[in-house]
């Protein structure tokens, strides 16, 4: 099969699967769930729900309006946020494949996560005493994630000024990479944590922002998923699982899954 044929084939399948996605999504959105979905009904669910299709369309339109949730919950200085953004972009840069961290709204994702439960280690064991431990015993710092990231961002800026007499945001890409590589290798002195721990945390946060459901504020317009070929939230692959060909499926997010809270 030529590449062109493959694409054409994928398109028809894509439409087919999208339709299938609406169907199952409709059942869930309408509040008819698991136990009450008839066992006979499940594999060959008919007619899409018009209500859900509407929700979905609204979602698409909203992409063009102002993104009011794009402001800072955690960082105080816009300069720090810029350093975070540019470091994130070096970790996941824009290229021919598609957008990088900044265009995917990853810096906002990270800022918002740092302000919440995860940034404050709400579900981690944070009682003392604290001892350094060995590598196999895992992370033992008394610092919270948001303390580690803000310290790390400040250190990126200070290392940049020490080495290049410039702000991190004024450096060229190679210089920025060199600084980040020093953090990755654990060569930068930090308090209560190694620079490698900081870098690992930052890198993981960037990947989360690229690929988490857009509900968290990153992965703008599911572009992270589109680049990777991950179709997101699909209700069923029952009809496709045995396919011998690779299928490109238009992604769908959890937003397509939610019922209107109105009466």
């Amino acid at each position: 099969m030529s590449e062109k044929d493959e694409r054409k084939d994928a398109m028809t399948r894509r439409q087919f699967i999208r339709k299938g996605g609406y169907v199952a999504g409709g059942a869930i959105g309408g509040g008819i769930l698991g136990a009450s979905i008839s066992q006979m009904f499940m594999p060959t669910a008919p007619s899409p729900s018009p209500e859900i299709s509407k929700t979905k369309n609204e979602g698409v339109q909203k992409a063009d309006v102002e993104r009011y949730n794009q402001a800072l919950m955690f960082f105080n200085k816009q300069e720090d946020f810029k350093v975070l953004a540019q470091a994130s972009e070096r970790i996941f840069p824009a290229d021919d494949l598609g957008p990088g961290a900044i265009d995917l709204d990853v810096p906002f994702y990270i800022d918002h996560q740092l302000a919440g439960a995860w940034g404050n280690n709400a579900r981690d064991y944070m009682l003392g005493p604290f001892y350094p431990g060995i590598e196999t015993q895992g992370f033992q710092s008394h610092l919270k994630r948001n303390e580690i990231i803000s310290q790390g961002i400040a250190r990126i800026q200070s290392v940049s000024k020490e080495n290049f007499k410039k702000k991190f945001t004024e450096l060229n890409e190679q210089q920025q990479d060199d600084i980040l590589a020093a953090f990755e290798k654990g060569k930068v002195k930090m308090k209560g944590v190694s620079s490698n721990d900081f870098f690992t945390l930052l890198r993981m946060s960037v990947l989360e922002g690229v690929y988490a459901d857009p509900l968290y504020g990153g992965n703008r317009d599911m572009a992270g998923w589109k680049m990777k070929g991950f179709p997101g939230n699909q209700m069923s692959y029952l009809a496709q699982i045995e396919s011998k060909e690779f299928l490109e499926i238009e992604p769908s997010s959890l937003h397509s899954h939610i019922a209107s809270p109105k009466k």
């Binding site: 989360e208 069923s236 045995e242 011998k244």
Partner: protein, 570 residues
């Protein structure tokens, strides 16, 4: 002052698979049962937002909140144990259904060899085959004796599968046909056949078709949506206690599920438990729940911890080798190979938790160990449970872990990678055990459980052997590049490996070296049953839930018997 509640016939500490099975069977037999569960309730309708990798797979929404309770860990006796501050190597469950909610659904039977491992090893290879300090012991039950209980559990779950050509005898077929095959699973099946191995479909608790179990509980057919592992099923198509044994128990009218009840102590006197003390974590008050029979059905860690903090049973001491509680803690090995394919793209994003093919040729004593310096083995599985984009960034060896090249390669190989993974058996060692930590405490002031664990020489040799096998099969599958999971080094509690922790309250036929008999009844307290993978004297090369379920059905039978006649059942 804790308030004392009216006495019940049976109480379970924890309501997952073990607690649910005990509750259903005891209640069906007319006993009044209370299930004390530290977490909240949840069911199929709680999983409508489940297709969320970040929330469930990365942030572990369904797992234990370790801010309240965790374990401490060290590799060796002379180290200071430190708290596992974040989940990592294994994912402890919590709330109604326990890990039975977020499991993948691989539902195996252990081999006949496993239950008589010591006897059979000596018979075939002589005494010297078992090295010093390995606490290998028989289970006090044979495969044939346990077979009817496996059968019951598989029917409760509606397991989809086909017989393991190298497994023990089965009294009946799997209740539902095997799951479908995909390009990925077929590739493995074909390669295995070419190498004269015996592939078979992974026994799956994601069901190939709709099914009604013998208790009348209805299960749906799997949609292959790829959100199984670490997730609950929004279709009711992955068997869990919540859609089988717990509703079955409820229907009897004899079961009360009490959530947010965190048990902190077993109260006992003269070799008998009188009940438990628990904290209602919503009210913030302590209660005493008296019972004729106390059944510990929490995870491996808390089963051991509760006995230790309650000073019930004799704690194991690695220096003298005496005592039993905390002994034989075992884990598993996870060697394997990743294949990178240049010419093909696979639908890696589709799948089901237990969609896969298995070979058992390198497990147990299914191959000759005469010239090998280890015993046992592992199962090799290629499963297609669905690669998720945050966690799945496979790159060939030597690729940087960030930047332009990482982005290109991780995107390219996301759909061009297949993993073949072993679950290697884990044999008990004198120095690997569980006890109480002297320093760290949980949110209720109770000491944390301390785990002392490292991989052993046996593990390193077995790991190396299994890696060679996975590499060979991955090459046969046609991978352009094969990357192996490297040499086994010290056990590290950070990277996820497997949630197949076993042992600590092990079964056997000798009270000197085991804590419970083959009904999971404590030798030291007739009315205390400790049910779960905590009873496994070693871990086989399989997922543990099938065996856990079988042992729970047997324990339930024992509890019903005990309630009538009392005394030791064995």
């Amino acid at each position: 002052m804790a308030k004392t509640l009216p006495k019940v016939d049976v109480l379970t500490v924890g309501v997952g698979w073990a607690g649910g099975i005990i509750a259903a069977e005891c209640a069906k037999n007319g006993l009044n049962v209370v299930g004390l569960e530290r977490g909240g309730n949840r069911n199929t309708e709680d999983f409508s937002m489940i297709h969320d990798e970040l929330r469930y797979a990365i942030r572990y929404d369904l797992m234990q909140d370790v801010s309240k309770e965790t374990i401490t860990f060290r590799n060796k006796l002379d180290q200071r144990a430190l708290p596992m501050r974040q989940l990592g190597s294994f994912l402890l469950g919590s709330s109604v259904g326990g890990s039975g909610v977020h499991w993948n659904g691989h539902t195996f039977r252990f081999l006949p060899y496993d239950f008589e491992i010591k006897t059979k090893t000596i018979e075939k290879y002589g005494k010297s085959k078992i090295k010093d300090d390995y606490l290998l012991q028989d289970w006090g039950i044979t495969y044939d004796e346990l077979e009817p209980y496996y059968d019951t559990f598989e029917k409760t779950c509606g397991i989809s599968g086909e017989p393991n050509p190298l497994g023990g005898k089965r009294s009946s077929d799997y209740p539902t046909p095997p799951m479908k095959n995909t390009v990925i699973t077929n590739k493995f099946r074909d390669a295995a056949k070419k190498l004269n191995l015996h592939p078979f479909s992974l026994p799956s608790a994601n069901l190939s078709e709709a099914y009604t179990n013998p208790d009348g509980e209805k299960l749906n057919a799997c949609q292959y949506c790829a959100f199984c592992e670490r997730f609950g099923c929004e279709y009711g198509a992955k068997t869990s206690p919540n859609i089988t044994v717990i509703p079955t128990a409820m229907k009897t009218g004899k079961f009360e599920l009490r959530t947010h009840a965190n048990v902190i102590e077993i109260i006992h006197e003269g070799g008998k438990a009188t009940g438990v003390k628990y904290i209602d974590t919503l009210q913030g008050e302590e209660f005493i729940q008296p019972a004729d029979v106390v059944v510990l059905t929490s995870y491996v860690m808390n089963n051991a911890k509760l006995l230790l903090v309650s000073k019930l049973g004799n704690p194991y001491d690695p220096k003298t080798g005496k005592g039993v509680i905390g002994k034989n803690y075992s884990y598993q090995l996870t060697p394997g190979s990743t294949g990178f394919f240049e010419k093909e793209r696979f639908n890696t994003y589709m799948g089901a938790g237990a969609l896969g093919q298995v070979v058992d040729d390198f497990n147990g004593d299914n191959f000759d160990h005469s010239n090998l310096d280890f015993i046992h083995g592992g199962t090799l599985v290629v499963s297609q449970s669905g690669y998720r984009p945050i966690a799945s960034n496979p790159v060939p060896p030597g690729t940087p872990l960030w930047g332009k090249e990482f982005k290109e390669q991780s995107i390219k190989y996301y759909t061009r990678t297949i993993n073949a993974g072993f679950q290697g058996a884990s044999l008990p060692h004198r120095d690997n055990y569980l006890d109480l930590d002297p320093t760290f405490k949980d949110a209720y002031g109770v000491p944390l459980l301390r785990m002392t664990y490292n991989f052993t020489d046996q593990d390193r040799k077995l790991h190396e052997y299994l890696t060679k096998q996975s590499e060979k099969i991955m090459k046969e599958m046609g991978a352009d590049t094969v990357m192996n999971i490297g040499k086994l080094v010290d056990y590290n509690i950070v990277p996820y490996q497997t949630t197949h922790n076993v042992g600590g309250v092990i079964m056997g036929d000798d009270p000197n070296i085991s804590a419970v008999n083959n009904y999971s009844q404590m030798w030291d307290a007739d009315n205390v049953f400790v049910v779960g993978a905590s009873a496994f004297p070693h871990n086989s090369g399989y997922n543990p839930t099938g065996t856990l379920g079988a042992l729970a059905y047997r324990a339930a039978e024992g509890i019903v018997k005990y309630s009538k006649n009392g005394g030791q059942l064995v």
